[in-house]
């Protein structure tokens, strides 16, 4: 019994991707500082007061004399600016997927991958008869790896663990679905 | 005398407020003192605005016995709609004033978890 599914679908999509608010705010604040400085220099010039760092006349002179600057610092400065520009472009365009998955159901649910990992760890540990401390899971977008560290001298049934983890993952019906893999450490832990 | 008339109006207004609060409290299953009522004139007719919490069954209770919802009077929105109609009817009946609109705002829920002792 879920209401307005299209509306909530839109919300779910937003939950799965970064809003880029962090980067945007940082860039905006830096741009604000730069713009405020230029504006201040212009106003100071209009008031006939001395400049803070560079008066408009000095800025113009600097621009005119650009070709005369030493090539190395010029290239380095240009490269740095261009690099930052590329990074921002990438941020703007890349999807920025968050470490989350969707659990289908009547009420749309978004689950952090850490919770999925914890659940897989529990499934693996229970199947192996070990403490959950002995297992670690890493969950990616479409796959998950569970690593189990058995107790020295006591063998674990790898097949059982794989089945348990795969069953647990399947029961979650995550979107996108994850393939599971289990790795059993050859070196066990002493009790 | 005009002072008497104003005095009577004040008393009448307070009385109406009390009526509204009592009716609301009864419909929503809460104490009269937790209800706030504001009566205003809207083009010669009454505009009533009420703010109150509502007593509801808990989700636990509903899951244990689905019939509890009906016993409590129905859904929140149903009870609120009934309250609105009742308020308008009672006020008109008692004061003769026509009611232009009734606005109810449920500000909170008094969640009952125990079995009601009837």
């Amino acid at each position: 019994m879920s209401a307005a599914p299209r509306l909530v679908k839109r919300v779910v999509r937003r939950e799965l991707h970064s809003s880029r608010s962090g980067a945007a705010v940082v860039v905006a604040l830096l741009a604000l500082l730069a713009t405020a400085w230029i504006g201040t220099e212009a106003v100071l010039a209009a008031l006939g007061r001395p400049a803070l760092l560079l008066s408009p006349a000095a800025m113009a002179a600097g621009v005119r004399a650009l070709p005369s600057v030493q090539p190395t610092p010029l290239v380095v400065a240009g490269a740095v600016l261009a690099l930052v520009g590329v990074v921002l472009l990438v941020l703007a365009v890349a999807p920025g997927r968050r470490a989350r998955h969707v659990v289908p159901g009547t009420t749309p649910t978004v689950v952090e991958d850490a919770v999925v990992a914890s659940s897989l760890v529990r499934a693996a540990a229970d199947a192996a008869g070990l403490d959950p401390d002995r297992a670690v899971a890493v969950v990616g977008r479409r796959s998950a790896l569970v690593r189990v560290t058995p107790t020295s001298g006591i063998a674990v049934d790898r097949g059982e663990i794989e089945k348990a983890v795969a069953d647990r993952a399947a029961s979650l019906r995550l979107q996108p679905a994850i393939r599971t893999r289990v790795a059993v450490d050859r070196k066990g832990k002493i009790a | 005398m005009s002072t008497d008339a104003r005095g009577r109006d004040v008393v009448a207004a307070k009385a109406m407020e009390s009526v509204v609060r009592a009716v609301t409290a009864d419909a929503l299953g809460v104490a009269s003192k937790s209800v706030q009522a504001d009566l205003d004139d809207d083009g010669g007719r009454l505009a009533i605005a009420v703010r109150a919490p509502i007593r509801v069954v808990s989700i636990d209770r509903l899951q244990r016995e689905p019939a509890a919802l009906e016993r409590s009077g129905g859904s929140v929105l149903d009870r609120t709609a009934t309250a609105e109609r009742t308020i308008a009817a009672r006020v008109t009946e008692l004061t003769g004033s026509a009611v232009r609109r009734v606005g109810v705002r449920i500000t909170g829920a008094d969640v009952s978890t125990e079995r009601r002792v009837r």
Partner: protein, 197 residues
Amino acid sequence: MNATNRGLNRLFLGVTGLLLLAAGAVPILLVTLAPVAQRWRSTARSLSGSAPDWVARPVTGSASALVLGIAAAALVLVVLLLVFVLRRGGGRTGTAVERSDEAGSTRLDLAVPRALLEQHLGARDEFSGVHVAAYAVRGVPVLSISARCRRGVSPADAAELIGRAVDDLGRIVGAELPALVRLSGGFRLGRNTARVA
């Protein structure tokens, strides 16, 4: 779930990125391509010789009309940037349901679904904490149910539990309340690693 305009964020980053890229390309071109440097120098010479009035002649103090124009533009830009920074987020609402017609209006505060859900879900072993809020999405209030799962809890179990609670909430309230559930918690280390200790 908030009202942040994500498209605007990305547009802003993209535009700034392009500007920086272009700005960074200029010095590199100046150094690597001699004709560019020559053109630059000759343009600079001719401009400093015979720059138009609005560029060179001081109007106030030592500022020409161009400089004043830049000051005004900078002010506008600063205000726009400030507005941009301050407008992030928002969209929260304290109302869960709002209906109105000729005869009156009915409004349910968020406190109602919050009390019901937090009472029910807070008592469940599966969660160490539950928080209910509401955001207006395209004008419609949508509940945001954030639950912190204890270690090892299956997200499917958690989702089903909460889903049933939301359905029951809908029955108690008498209207379907759109809701989004967010499950967090589970473990201790890292982003998507669980070392349960």
